[in-house]
Symmetry: C2
């Protein structure tokens, strides 16, 4: 099945400087096979981009999809109070249906706002995987381990990794240790061993709040990063969500890490934490991607909002008007995010040979003034609601802002009935 | 002409605690005359709110409408460099057409994202007033005075104030001193005298950046607020844009002020300034509203984005997860903003006797989960693009997300041709 995307203004995110090309894109199956002017090859279907901007689908590097159920539930609280008073008691009641339908809603909201890949961590992931497959997202998934985790999560991780971690798979399985304050050293070692056995990476929350990081330091007389380094955990790739409160010594250790850090600016704000110094992390050559964290806290899965926040907050943090260029922020949501989650060979830019994960951005807002820097326009003026079309793995999943792969109304009805019940 | 709004979930913003009422609203001319269940009075037109949330139109307390022309132009810079290198040289070339069409675009973008009133300051305001009248916005307008201002701006202010400042007018005229660093004491006194003569208020930028505030202190050995107090300027009402770097003594002075402060969180971020301590200002009983500032800097006129930013930034500033309740943030964009700009007798809440300035918010996003706090939903999940309908002064200006009062495409075409020319 060959699809030809015509009339596209392509922002490919492939080079060091931004560039816009008015070219066609030929897709064969799930891959981009040609990018050129006026392609004359045979095709089965034509997709007119209507003069809109076509860029790589966005990559949400840290999510908890099933937590849609907690949206608006005992919001704006300290991390530990929010978890212990609001989240954990309800999590015990979550059944398979709850996880499936709420994961569906999250997948739909992400695709409608331009995200084509996410990196998810939670429990009951088998139903989240089912939702991801049905809606048609690309994803990494992981069963979050804590000290009280049953052996079952290790078995599930192994079972799903063996099933999904083949070359070219749309879904990949990582190992997940929840964090250093709720996983002891034995558990962290076991996670690292499992990741090595499965040739995959580890997804972890690492310093998210000051209280938790202090707890780790009191317990081990080491920072979280030093603790992981002391057990040689960084022999496997890491996706580190948050990366707050890192000292220079931590940064030295992380410079050698495979993977990188996912910055979640809205989630950090909502926990009233410091602003993560991603300017410094980037200057040290550490890959930095962007994430929304669970919708239970941040209330939106729109990565365009996270891009804006990342840019605004760095200006405050650094007292510099332009610490990170708009193009660099867009890279965090695309190619740099792909590097962090271990998928940059396949996605994150529009290039021949890569998977066909594309979004079309309605350019009417952009055309209403001079286009002297398209990236600053996308960053500061565009919202998720301006995304018109999303192609994932060569399939048109969103068209004219409508989900084509799934009955959105059915998902909403079921998610509401589940929420009412729980 | 009587209009009946039916099937509305009304968030009236009139009381201390949020409340949602499923009632009808009867509008006679430009005023709300009845709010009740199942109104049976005669009417000329029915407006079905379709089960959506109906709230007061938002109030943007600090704008420079004509600056749409500078959107994306030499963005992200120090205030003085941005003004002197980018803005002032082009401003000299701005003609009447430039100001008219760019003001039109700004009016349209505001209404489409739920703003029904703004408080504008710039030069060439006669053409901005024309745009505001034609598109159908409610506004305060003011000719910004600086030291080099010609006497002409005083004359224009007086002429327009005499024409527009009658009871019930949709447009009102304020006096504007640009700031304390570019208006000397004589100019500030002249502005105060003019405001007293015209029985109106003063719109001013007051500490916006640390550099400018330090300049004032060096010059007068007084803060900006102390300087104004020393000439008894606060005998007239003030709309103070920004309010950064205020000391306790300043706050003591401002507690007695009529009017208040307009917080522009995105604009402050883009100038890499400190976070304004609106939590403290509010605790001191000072009215605080919200603004976008000129689109030349902030790139969006969407007040929902400013509400989110105001909430996120206060959590960082105060290290408290809930320094200001969501309902209080919504008040800043409605009734509290109305108090700051001197219009709370007429707008800012949905009450019998007030002007009919209403917006309908598409509630599909809201219905997808439990409504246990509608205000936190509106604050954290809704964007300007979810606004479906806007009624201003009893007229339906936006319906099904389309501007009814003006040819939007014509405005865009003309704005683009003007930008290309300048």
């Amino acid at each position: 099945m060959k699809k030809l995307v015509t009339n596209a203004y392509i922002l490919d995110m492939a080079s060091d400087e931004p560039d816009i090309m008015h070219k066609d894109i030929l897709i064969d199956g799930n891959r981009i096979v040609k990018i050129d002017n006026n392609i004359q090859d045979e095709y089965d279907e034509i997709i007119d981009a209507g003069g809109n901007i076509v860029m790589p689908g966005l990559i949400n590097g840290h999510t908890h999809l099933a937590m849609n159920i907690f949206r608006n539930y005992l919001y704006d609280n300290k991390l530990i109070n929010w978890l212990e008073d609001a989240i954990y008691p309800v999590e015990e009641k979550l059944d398979q249906d709850s996880i499936f339908w709420n994961s569906c809603i999250s997948c739909i909201e992400m695709i409608k706002s331009g995200t084509t890949t996410c990196n998810d961590m939670y429990f009951g992931m088998n139903k989240t995987v089912e939702a991801i497959e049905k809606v048609g997202l690309r994803a990494n998934v992981a069963w979050g381990m804590k000290n009280d985790s049953q052996i079952d999560k290790f078995d599930k991780t192994r079972e799903y990794a063996l099933r999904y971690n083949y070359p070219g798979s749309r879904i990949n399985v990582l190992v997940s240790a929840d964090s250093t304050y709720n996983c002891d050293v034995e558990m962290l070692k076991a996670c690292k061993d499992l990741a090595q056995e499965l040739h995959t990476g580890i997804h972890i929350h690492l310093p998210e709040t000051l209280i938790e990081e202090r707890k780790v330091k009191r317990l081990y007389n080491k920072s979280s990063v030093e603790l992981l380094d002391s057990i040689n955990a960084f022999e496997v790739p890491f996706v580190i969500a948050n990366g707050l409160y890192l000292c220079d010594k931590d940064i030295e250790i992380l410079k050698k890490m495979k993977g990188g850090i996912i910055h979640n600016p809205i989630s950090n704000c909502k926990l009233s934490q410091d602003i993560c110094d991603i300017t410094k992390l980037k200057q040290n050559g550490i890959n930095v991607g962007l994430g929304t964290d669970g919708i239970g806290r941040t209330r939106t899965l729109d990565l365009f909002e996270e891009m804006k926040m990342a840019s605004y907050l760095q200006k405050i943090k650094t007292k510099n008007q332009k610490p990170i260029e708009p193009y660099e922020i867009l890279k965090m949501a695309t190619i740099d995010g792909a590097k962090v989650i271990g998928k940059s060979e396949e996605i994150g830019s529009i290039e021949v040979g890569k998977k066909a994960d594309l979004i079309f951005i309605d350019s009417r807002k952009i055309h209403d003034a001079t286009i002297n820097n398209i990236c600053s326009y996308i960053l500061y003026t565009i919202n998720g609601s301006d995304v018109d079309t999303a192609i994932i793995d060569g399939e048109v999943i969103l068209r004219n802002k409508m989900i084509m792969s799934f009955d959105e109304e059915e998902a909403r009805r079921n998610a509401i009935s589940v929420i009412d019940r729980v």
